[in-house]
Amino acid sequence: MLDHIPVGMWIINRDYTILSWNNCIEDWTGIGKNDILGGDFTSYFSLFKEARYRERIASVFDTGAPTIFSYQLHGNIFGLFLPNGEPRIQHTTVIAIPSPDGDDFHAVFAVEDVTDLTNRIAELHRTERQLRQAHSGMEKRVQERTAELAAANDLLQREIVEHKQTAQALQHERDKIQKYLDVAGVMLTVLDNQQRLRLINKRGCDVLECKEKDAIGKDWCDSFVPEQARDEVREVISALLNGKTKQFEYWENQILTKSGDQRIIAWHNKVLYDDKGGIEAILSSGEDITERKKAEKTAKLAYKELENANRELKEVQSQIVQSEKLAAIGLLASGVAHEINTPVGFVASNFQTLEGYIEKFKNLLEMYHDLIGKIEILGKTELLNKVAAIDKSRKDMKIDFILEDIGDLFDDSKEGLERVTNVVKNLKDFSRVGHPEEFEEYDLNTGIETTLAVAKNEIKYDANVKTELSEVPPVMCNSGQINQVFLNILVNAAQAIKSQEREGMGTITIKMYAADSEVICEISDDGPGIDPDKLPKVFDAFFTTKPAGKGTGLGLSVSYDIIANKHNGQLLAESTVGKGTKFTIKLPIEQTKTQDKEKMKHEESCLNSVDDEGAV
């Protein structure tokens, strides 16, 4: 059987005697079976004489374990060559088989020619190595690529996460902004540059009576502006989109709700810019001012009515002041008449005397005239007689006395006429009807003197007037009104003293002095005084302590109005029952521009407050 195996094989026993030799080994060694069988193995294979080989073979017999002799470590056991002379590669395996009696082992040598196999294996390994290199290159590339992909994937994942986070943050911001927008009590809209609605808040939807999704994207003018205002609004939006922001920053126009109502909206517009600085949209906040407009209209009407009422009131007030003045003048009329009568009386008397004097002058002059006409005809004696007669007449007529008296008469009359003129002038000054707001520089001392002149007859029978008038700077005031105040207070004082029906004369003291920026005038009397419970009412209209018919009850009220309201001054009253009353007038020297302005502003603000409200 061994003969058919293409492996060189032989069997030896423990004594190294060759027991079997197959055809293949016969061919390779050229040693025939018949020559070698039963022979000593080591005589043919000298290698096995060496101890280390013998040891290996011994172990086969001892343990039955196979032994290998590789070509790489031992070379060829016997010479076997390739056609090119190169040795063939032999791989020798020695295995133990039990001896036929079973007591021992025989060693079977199997020598394989593994030249081709080894070459093929080497080739295979080379290929494998190349493949492995290629593979490892590929693997490296794959690994690199995988790493790149993994990195890219990581990056992408991170970006996705970031994107998600950003999107979430954006959504969050958007929700927050939407919340803010919705909380806003005004309409908020964004129109794009095609005038289409891009954003609207809840209030906007409420006013328009529509849902956000129905409104977004619609042309603003076509959908939400009444037809009559459409062109105008479109132009305004175009102007805003063209950068004319200032002009239309604030704009009011009507809008059309879903139910067809028209509401008035006050818009505040701002333009939104894109990254390149171009205008891309308009952000508008709109307030529904329909109700306010209505209220404004009502308020305007009410204001107009109020204004009319105020004007009427002012007229009435002015009439009252005037009539009060006339009343005062009426009161003064008898005194004034007396003032005028006296000078007029003696002027009239003088006039009569002068008339008599003139008659006498006329007679004397005729006598002279007669003498001059006859002077050529008459002789000397006659002339002398005539002259003597004239001279006698002159003496008779007391011409010398007349000539002396005539000067006196003229002086007296002149004085009388001056007195009349003064009285009339004072009266005229006093009763002067000027424009109530007309202010001029006025010396209050003059005012007191004028007033005293006019009121002299009202006072002089009841009180002596003591004046302590310091020099004071002129005060910006309406002189007529101030004199009226002086008169009221002085006449009141005189009447109060008179009401006591005392024996002696009372005293009215007038003090005038300047303090800081005001001029102060104190008018005090030593009359009966005013009850403390009545004192606070003295400036009330229609309040009077005088008997019926003696006063209008408006005098001090009007005085108070003049000093406090018209002149920014103060009118104060102090009184002690039984001792007298003192009125103090404090007037600012300057009706400063500020005060004027403030006064004007006050008045304007009263007007504007209505206007403003109307306009808001």
């Binding site: 290996r56 001892d62 196979p66 032994t67 290998i68 470590l73 295995i95 390994h125």
Partner: protein, 203 residues
């Protein structure tokens, strides 16, 4: 000696003696000192074995198998990491590492080296224990540890005994392992045999 653990210690010692012989052989072959580690012995299920082998990673290894039957059944293996195998072969043959024939040289050389080493180990153990073993012809394979796992003759669902020892050829920076796989049933037999033989020797 009643305790299995004691028997195992004895077995480990015997294996150590076998490996010691191997060390002498390798020392002679390589003219270099061989450092040996104490053998470890584990009894594993086939699943555990797989897990254990997986720990060895995917390193390319050269392995010489010597299956045996008889009184015990198993496989003896000499395993080198590929790099160590190359160094080992270079040291034995004097060939340059980058020669084209290196791979073919390696197969032949390592087969013989494995044969010598495993014969020494198994011969020592069987001599000491008086076992009768029948050996197959050693074979050379390359691959990762998992692929070197001796499927045959180990039957699935049976437990295996793995005895492993590690050696280092310091001068050459070569390392390797000798691993013996025994089928569990035959291992018990081996321990029994060990007791008899040990007691006998003690007497």
């Amino acid at each position: 000696m009643k305790c299995a653990a004691d028997k195992i210690e004895v077995l480990k010692e015997m294996i150590n003696i076998g490996v010691g012989r191997v060390a002498d052989l390798l020392n002679t072959m390589l003219c270099s000192h061989i450092r040996l580690e104490v053998p470890s012995l584990k009894i594993l299920s086939s699943d555990e074995l797989e897990t254990e082998l997986c720990k060895c990673g995917n390193e390319r290894l050269s392995c010489i198998n010597l299956p045996f039957k008889g009184d015990v059944i198993g496989v003896a293996e000499l395993v080198f990491p590929a790099e160590s195998a190359s160094k080992f072969v270079i040291a034995l043959t004097g060939e340059e590492a980058d020669t084209i024939d290196m791979d073919s040289i390696r197969a032949g050389t390592l087969s013989e080296v494995g044969n010598i080493v495993l014969n020494a180990v198994m011969g020592t153990i069987s001599n000491l224990l008086g076992f009768k073993l029948r050996y197959s012809v050693p074979s050379y394979t390359e691959g990762n540890f998992n692929s070197l796992l001796p499927v045959h003759p180990i039957v699935p669902d049976t437990r295996v005994v793995v005895v492993q020892t590690h050696f280092v050829v310091e001068k050459l920076e070569v390392e390797g392992s000798i691993i013996l796989f025994f089928e569990m049933g035959s291992f018990d037999k081996l321990l029994e045999k060990l007791e008899t033989s040990y007691e006998g020797k003690k007497r």
